[in-house]
């Protein structure tokens, strides 16, 4: 006899649902921290034991819960964050589903101690496997203290699939770091087996938090970015192109205080760094996007790590353009000091702290503070007045100061800021001042502006010049396409066909003349020629793939770039070619005329610099 259909009991439902929300200890930590943030805490202490399986404890100094709320909190779909479904559109809190606590309670031994500031005593509730075990008055500090022990003790299947304690803790610390980056004004501390692993100041300075999470070396070279358009604000710090890694671990996106993963944002980041970093690498970046909640939907998955934007194109362009602009304006030149320990005593101290994971409060050296000044995009030349407005936002006057005084302070700050901007310009390369000194190994050009020494890779530099020339010519003359006597037949998949039809006009402009030949077979009547294109059919498919793989279709220019790359590289000056001083000077000046002189089209650097100070340091002259 086949088994009868029957309704599951609530306990069973909770355990199944728990699998979706609580996949591994990491999920518990995330849910609990988010609750703490929603409770308005500015200090959150996390301690983890045994990779999170033995114990996870999250303590905050937030608003706490009333005893009756505490009893409700462990019931499914009980939440203080929304009351009706329409509230989702204006959601400002991190949680809202009312699922976290009951599901955690269903698969662990849970204890919550909570006290509101106005109450004299706190209450403790203990839940084991979904059943309330005890509820009693207790003494405690204001805030909430949640302890989750023996996670997955009643779901052996989940437990079996947990990785080693170190792996699980690695995931947890990554998540805590990102949440810390998302909330620079909350002080986070994370302990594993009583060892302090991470501690952020909670002073509201994002760069301080970045330094605590990613390290001083990275933080020092980061470039500030801030832009606002169509109600969307993008702010944060992006890494210098010289500091890249093979994975996306150095990238954090925060949307309205929520850490998220988004293919769209990863892509726009790559787009911004296009040709500035080698293919297959990712820069460091911490970007905060602020926009009205109606612009996106986080209710895609219970873990709330994914996000869907309403207008992807606007966000894509805003992010990639602002990154590009920041990078081009800053033009950071690679220094020779990469990956070396800085002997600045202050930094050295920090470095040691880093080593011991004891970086309690990281103070940045004065030099990095300077770079840390937010770099604004001025639509026109900044007047003192509108800069003041921005400055007021940046430097909130200390309480107790009179308005007069605060204006004075602001003025001083403004002047300082201006000087720093000028300072910053001098850090860029002034190509007009550069003069060639000679050639090294017939491959590198040594030159100087009498302040720093620059070493230019002649092949990379020439490649950049050729590439830009080619591009200009292509823009002027347009694309030629060779008509075909015997049309090439291309068979497209349904998806490819749709994209082809959607971009028919664009394809035409690129030089593809396409004709339907019944079903999904198409005739290629003409193909673009840029040098000798070997296989036109494959080229079309490649184009379609390109469109498929990106949510924002590549422009005609983008597609041409790949060919230009190839031609530029082949025709450029090679290494091991002797140049005269005049030729070198010429090359340097031409390079200086490019909008983007510091990397070749493949993203390799064209020049590195050694400052006078670095030389003096090496010779112990100071």
């Amino acid at each position: 006899m086949p088994p009868r259909i029957k309704l599951l009991d609530q306990h069973c439902i909770n355990q199944i649902a728990a699998g979706e929300v609580v996949e591994r200890p990491l999920s518990v930590v995330k849910e609990l921290i988010e609750n703490a943030i929603d409770a308005g805490a500015n200090k959150i202490e996390i301690s983890v034991e045994g990779g999170g399986q033995s114990q996870i404890r999250v303590r905050d100094n937030g608003c706490g819960m009333a005893p009756e709320d505490l009893q409700l909190a462990v019931l499914p779909h009980a939440t203080s964050k929304i009351a009706k479904i329409d509230d989702l559109n204006n959601l400002a809190s991190l949680g809202f589903r009312g699922e976290a606590l009951p599901t955690i309670a269903a698969i662990s031994k849970l204890s919550i101690v909570s006290r509101r500031k106005e109450d004299a005593v706190g209450w403790e509730i203990r839940v084991e496997g979904g059943q309330v075990a005890s509820f009693a008055e207790t003494g405690c500090a204001p805030g909430t203290d949640v302890t989750v022990s023996d996670l997955f003790y009643n779901t052996p299947a989940r437990r079996k699939f947990l990785r080693s304690a170190n792996t699980e803790f690695g995931l947890i610390s990554d998540m805590v770091s990102r949440l810390a980056l998302a909330n620079p004004s909350i002080s986070f501390s994370l302990r594993h087996a009583r060892t302090l692993v991470l501690n952020t100041t909670g002073r509201g300075n994002l760069l301080d938090t970045i330094a605590a999470v990613l390290g001083n070396e990275i933080a020092r070279k980061m470039l500030p970015l801030e832009v606002e358009d169509q109600g969307i604000k993008v702010a944060g710090y992006i890494g210098s192109p010289e500091q890249v890694r093979k994975s996306r671990n150095g990238v954090t996106f925060i949307v309205n205080g929520r850490f998220i993963r988004s293919q769209l944002l990863y892509q726009s980041l790559k787009e911004g760094y296009h040709t500035l970093i080698p293919a297959g690498t990712y820069p460091y970046a911490v970007l905060t996007l602020t926009m009205p909640p109606a612009f996106y939907d986080v209710n895609v998955h219970p873990s709330k790590l994914e996000i869907k934007f309403k207008d992807e194109k606007v966000i894509f362009n805003l992010v990639s353009n602002s990154i590009r602009k920041t990078l081009l304006e800053a033009r950071p030149v690679r220094s020779l000091q990469d990956k070396q320990t800085d002997y600045d005593p202050q930094n050295f101290h920090d470095y040691q702290k880093d080593q011991n994971y004891q970086n309690t409060t990281k103070l940045l050296s004065p030099r990095s503070r300077k770079i840390a000044e937010p770099h604004k995009f001025y639509s026109s030349t900044p007047t003192v007045a509108d800069s003041w407005e921005q400055l007021k936002l940046l430097y909130k006057p200390a309480p107790g100061l009179t308005t007069d005084k605060s204006v004075k302070v602001n003025k001083e700050l403004y002047i300082e800021n201006q000087e720093q901007n000028q300072d910053k310009k001098s850090e860029q390369v002034n190509f007009e001042e550069l003069r060639a000194l000679g050639q090294l190994f017939n491959t590198y050009i040594l030159c100087t502006d009498d302040q720093d020494l620059y070493i230019i890779d002649q092949h990379a530099a020439h490649e950049r010049i050729r590439y830009d020339n080619l591009r200009q010519q292509l823009n002027e003359k347009g694309v030629y396409s060779q008509m075909l006597l015997i049309p090439e037949t291309v068979e497209l998949t349904i998806q490819e066909e749709q994209i082809m039809l959607e971009h028919f006009e664009q394809l035409n402009q690129l030089g593809f003349i396409i004709e339907n030949f019944g079903e999904r077979t198409y005739f290629l009547r003409a193909v673009p020629i840029v040098q000798n294109l070997p296989e036109p059919g494959k080229l079309l498919i490649k184009f379609l793939d390109e469109v498929l793989s990106k949510s924002i279709p590549p422009t005609q220019e983008k597609l041409m770039e790949s060919w230009l790359d190839m031609i530029a590289c082949r025709s450029a000056l090679k290494g091991n070619a002797k140049l005269s001083l005049q030729e070198m000077d010429q090359l340097i000046q031409e390079l200086g005329n490019r909008p983007n002189p510091l990397s070749c089209p493949h993203g390799r650097p064209t020049m590195i610099n050694i400052s006078k100070k670095e030389l003096e340091d090496k010779f112990n002259r100071t």
Binding site: K477, Y480, S481, L485, I529, Q531
Partner: protein, 365 residues
Amino acid sequence: MKIICSKDNLLLGVNTVQRAVATKNTMPILQGIRLRTEGSSLWFEATDLEIGIRCNIPMEVQEEGEVVLPAKLFSEFVRKLPDTDIILESIDNNVNIHYNKSNFVINGYDPEEFPEITEFTSADIIEIPATIFKKMIRQTIFACAVEETRPVFTGILVHVEKENISLVSTDSHRLAHSKAMISDNDKEFKGIIPSKTMQELLRLLDDNEILTVQYNSSKIIFKFGSCQILTRLIDGQFPSYKQVIPQSCNTKLLLNCKNFLDTVERASLLSKDNYLKINNVRFNIEDSILNVNQYSEMGKISEQIEIEQEGENVAISFNAKYVIDVLKIIDTENIIMEASGPYSPCVFRPENEEDYLYLLLPLRN
């Protein structure tokens, strides 16, 4: 094996077969030339399995036998031999070459490993005068595709219908078609012959010879003088060339070949070193004047040629190389150009010669 011969005879044999020696070294034996006696003559043979060339040269044979010698070493050595009687004597797989009072030993390959360039007998034999065939190859071979992506385009289609023979080549940007009459033939044949084979025919055929063509469904042998070239036919369907040739035109021009060629070559100088390597040339045909106005970052050219024009005015762009290619192989003084608007195929024919046409597709901008 023991033979006595002159340096010239050896050199002739080596030079004839050398182009068939394999350039890739996947099978070492194919980098050798086989020498085999037959009666009082010596066969030279080389093959890369796509093409095989054999050549028979009479010489004094004292002892029968065969050897396979590394082609590069052997041919370079032969070139440097003095002009005297030369004796080749084999010792197992190796050959001792005696000249004057000296000796040179070349270590050879095992002749057993050398693939047989099998001659097949076939009733299907066509005879073509060499002069005609060579001219036809010259008029078509340049339009073959170089890239291997579509193999049928890398060869020349030979189409024999009774007394008519056609050679057609195309790389899908242009098409060259040459026709001729061969008397006393009732056979039909259609096959695509690799352009490398055709190149060898062009090189080795003497004008006054008669070319004998023997074929089956997958192979073809060309025999002439003391040589044989055997090749595999290219598999695949050649496009039906007759359908793509336009039957009418809107503009018909008569141009002086040499003047036209000079103009196009001068104009293409400007685009030769341009960054994008697009070697385009644009003709503006207006009231019996052909204008070329071309500019690039290197300079500009403006030329006018007087022409004979029938029909409407037209402005049309081509890849200059493709135009130069055809003007170089046309022997007549004047050339006819037939166009039908800027995007339709354009036909070039020599004046008063119905047997040749060149179809060229324009560039769009």
